[in-house]
Structure formats: C-alpha cells, structure tokens
C-alpha cells in the first residue's frame, strides 16, 4: 500500500514553509572548537590550582619522575584518542556506533584510566599524599570543553540511544580532562586515584547521559 498523495503534499508544503539551511563544511568549525577547548582546559590548569593555594601548571608535578610522567601522559592520551575514535559516528553514518560499544566506552574508560595510573604507583614514591578533591574539581572543570566539542562533532541527533551516546561522550571528555589533570597531579596512590581521577569520570558519564537525553533525542517538529 502506497502512502496517499495528500501526505506527500502535506510534507512538501511543510518543508517549503520551514526551509532549512543547506549543508556547510563543519570541519573548520570543529577544529576551531577543539582548539578553543584545548586553550580553555589549559587555562583551567593554569588558573584554578591557584584558587586552592597550589602551584599552577605542570610545575606542580615536579616530584614525579619525568619518565613515569611521560608514560602516564602518553598512555592516557592514547586511551583518550582511541575512545574518541570509537564513539564518533563513522564517516558514512548519521548514527552513533552500537550501544554495546558505547556502554563499554562509558564504563571502561574511567576504569582503564584508573588502572593505568595505579599501575605506576609502585614505580615511584608519591611526593606527598592527598585525598583527591582538588583533582576531582580540576577534572570536573576541564571536561565540559571537550564534551562540547565532541557533542558538536557527533551528528547531534541520535534517535536510538541518546542517553548512552551522551554517557560515552562524557566518559571520553573525562579522558581528555584526565590528560590535562595528570599534567598537574603527580600522585598515583590507589585511594587518591579512585576519588580524584576515577570517580569524576564516572560522574561525567552520568552527567553526559543526562545531557545526551536532552541534546540528542528526537524532538517533534
């Protein structure tokens, strides 16, 4: 059974009455947004620690051996890159990757970031001990910028699982925030990592899920 001709008339009339702009090249804007996010994250790292009365920037991590620091940073960055590649839609698709993959990223990334940090705990003595609230706050303040970039780079319309997509993007944004925070934080003790580095990423996944439900869901037009 074919749809009635009147439906076609209705749809075409609605389209004519509410014209939408044609496609534009979004790549320059995405790159610009990513650059802005990097600057904003650096700004947070250079400014926020001084609010806690701490040394700002990478100088704060001076007590950590340089080699360990380089490994920690490159491992976290590799994880963030891989997770970004996994959660963004493929080149020919308007839809996000399968839900299982998104869930794996949303849950797996915080755990892998934590495990990677704790792995280095035995290789050097922490220069001091701390609960982890500063790292928690820094992660929470640096993550929104990459989240905005990722949300823009994704297709911004996910009819199947907007919440899961948002959760995965939140986790990936958290991974990029972790890269920045590890530039500043030299600690790798288990309890500190759990509170200051893993918990915020898990909360970012939850927040991302809530944002995803609002940002990516289908709205009646």
């Amino acid at each position: 059974m074919m749809p009635p001709e009147s439906l076609k008339m209705r749809v075409l009339e609605a389209v004519r009455q509410h014209p939408m702009p044609r496609r534009t090249n979004t790549l320059p804007f995405t790159i610009g947004l990513a650059a802005f996010a990097a600057v904003a994250m650096s700004g947070v790292l250079l400014w926020v620690p001084s609010l806690f009365g701490e040394v700002a920037g990478p100088a704060h991590a001076a007590g950590r051996p340089a080699v360990s620091g380089a490994w920690i940073l490159s491992g976290t960055m590799a994880l963030a890159l891989a997770a970004t590649w996994l959660v963004l839609p493929s080149r020919r698709s308007m839809l996000s990757p399968p839900r299982g993959l998104l869930l794996a990223v949303a849950i797996g990334v915080p755990l892998l970031v934590g495990a990677w940090l704790v792995l280095w705990h035995g290789t050097y003595a922490d220069p001091f001990t701390r609960t982890g609230w500063r790292c928690f706050a820094l992660t929470a303040l640096t993550a929104p910028w990459p989240f905005a970039t990722l949300a823009y780079a994704s297709r911004r319309l996910e009819p199947r699982h907007p919440g899961t997509t948002g959760a995965a993007l939140g986790s990936v944004a958290g991974a990029w925030a972790a890269v920045m925070v590890e530039l500043w934080c030299p600690l790798a003790a288990g309890s500190h990592v759990l509170l200051g580095h893993v918990l915020p990423l898990l909360l970012l996944a939850l927040a991302g899920s809530a944002f995803g439900l609002r940002l990516f869901r289908l709205r009646r037009v």
Binding site: L7, K8, L12, R92, S93
Partner: protein, 227 residues
C-alpha cells in the same frame, strides 16, 4: 498477513522477495538535497515514504498513525538537512528515526489501541476471496501474527527489518544500534522459532486430519478452534 506466511516460507529457502533497490538513489537524492538542491526532497520522499509507510503500517496497523510517523520522519530528516554527511546513508537513519517515533507512540499507549484497528496488511492481495478462503486466511493470518508477536522484540525487529523491509544486515545493525553479528543471531533465532512453530502447526493439523470424524455437532463445537 498472508505476506507473513509467505515470507516465512521464502526464508526457509533462504530468500526474501523484498529488494533493497532505491537505497542508493535515496542516498544520492538526500546528498543533493543537503547540498542545496531543494527540488531533490521530492525524490527523497518518493524513495523513502513508501518503505517507511509500509514499515509504520505493519507496526501500528493504523493508517493515520503510519502517515503521522512517515511525515514526522521526513520532517526530522529535513530539519537535519545541514548536518547530513557527504556520502551518508539515509535509509538506516530514516528507519531509526521512524522506529523511535513508533516506539514513543507505543509508550504513549497508542499502539495497543491501534493494533485493534481493522487494517489490512499492506501486501495482502485486494481481490475479494470466497467466504471459506477469507475465514481460512483470517485464521492463518491471526496465527502468523500471534507467532510473530510472541517472539522477543529484539528478534522480531531484526527479522522484520531484514526480511520484510529488505535492509541489509549492516543497515539493520545501524537501525537497531547493535552489531552485525547480533543482527544475524537475532534474525536466525526468529526464523528458527517461526519455522518450528509452523512445523508444529502443520504436524498438529495432520494429526487432526487422521483422527476419526466427530459423531455429533456438539463434538465439533467443542473440538473446533475458537475464532
């Protein structure tokens, strides 16, 4: 609903009579529309609307609800015109949008009401059959519908998209948001369950045919299948 049984029979041969033609034309038309050619939307409509309408009609069994779903889906596509990626696939995207709209419709409690509407299957032949044929068709159709409806929703959706809508495994995976392997597993399980049910029914009818004839009209009414 005859079409359902026909599809089951075809599946047993490993074939489907639903072609995937039109998918690439739809993609090209959408690409032209996204690039600024306004007139191409009519072509997008012509490629997508019949397939979406059939899909929605099968889901809702209500013409008005199906038309609403098709209209909403196409308007969503239009609203996302500027975001459509170059060389993107529009068919899985359209089905995913339509499916979400239909799920939302069901959540609002509309689906149950609409299911009760007496709307013919879109692929059912329009020629009027004899009363006996009509009764037989109705029974078979009701049975097939029950069998299909009794499948777990995940299996049923994968089965319907692959076998009725003619989507490829990759497209179905995109529509449902699962992996290709999972689509194959679900469609295979649905096929096996329907085949098993058809075989059981056939076996049951053969058994009843070999039974001695009932002696009184009372026996017939007691032993007959309720309609």
């Amino acid at each position: 609903m005859q079409a359902v049984m026909g599809q089951v029979a075809l599946m047993m041969d490993g074939r489907s009579d639903v072609g995937a033609a039109g998918a690439s034309r739809a993609d090209r038309a959408m690409d032209r529309y996204a690039s600024g050619e306004d007139a191409a939307f009519a072509e997008v409509y012509d490629e997508l609307a019949p397939r979406l309408h059939r899909f929605a009609l099968r889901w809702t069994r209500s013409r008005s609800a199906a038309e609403d779903a098709v209209q909403q889906t196409l308007l969503q596509i239009h609203a996302a015109r500027h975001r459509f990626v170059r060389g993107g696939a529009v068919v899985p995207w359209a089905y995913a949008i339509a499916r979400r709209l239909l799920i939302d419709l069901g959540r609002r409690g509309v689906r149950e009401v609409l299911r009760a509407d007496d709307v013919r299957d879109p692929e059912e032949p329009s020629a009027a059959p004899s009363p006996e044929e009509a009764l037989h068709h109705r029974r078979v159709a009701a049975e097939a519908r029950r069998n299909l409806a009794s499948l777990p929703s995940g299996w049923r959706e994968a089965f319907e998209l692959v076998k009725f809508e003619g989507l490829s495994v990759a497209e179905t995976a995109e529509v449902l948001g699962i992996t290709r392997g999972m689509v194959k597993i679900r469609a295979h399980r649905a096929t096996a369950a329907l085949r098993e049910e058809a075989a059981r029914r056939l076996h049951g009818s053969l058994e009843s045919a070999t039974r001695p004839a009932p002696r009184s009209p009372r026996d017939i009414s007691e032993g007959g299948t309720p309609t």
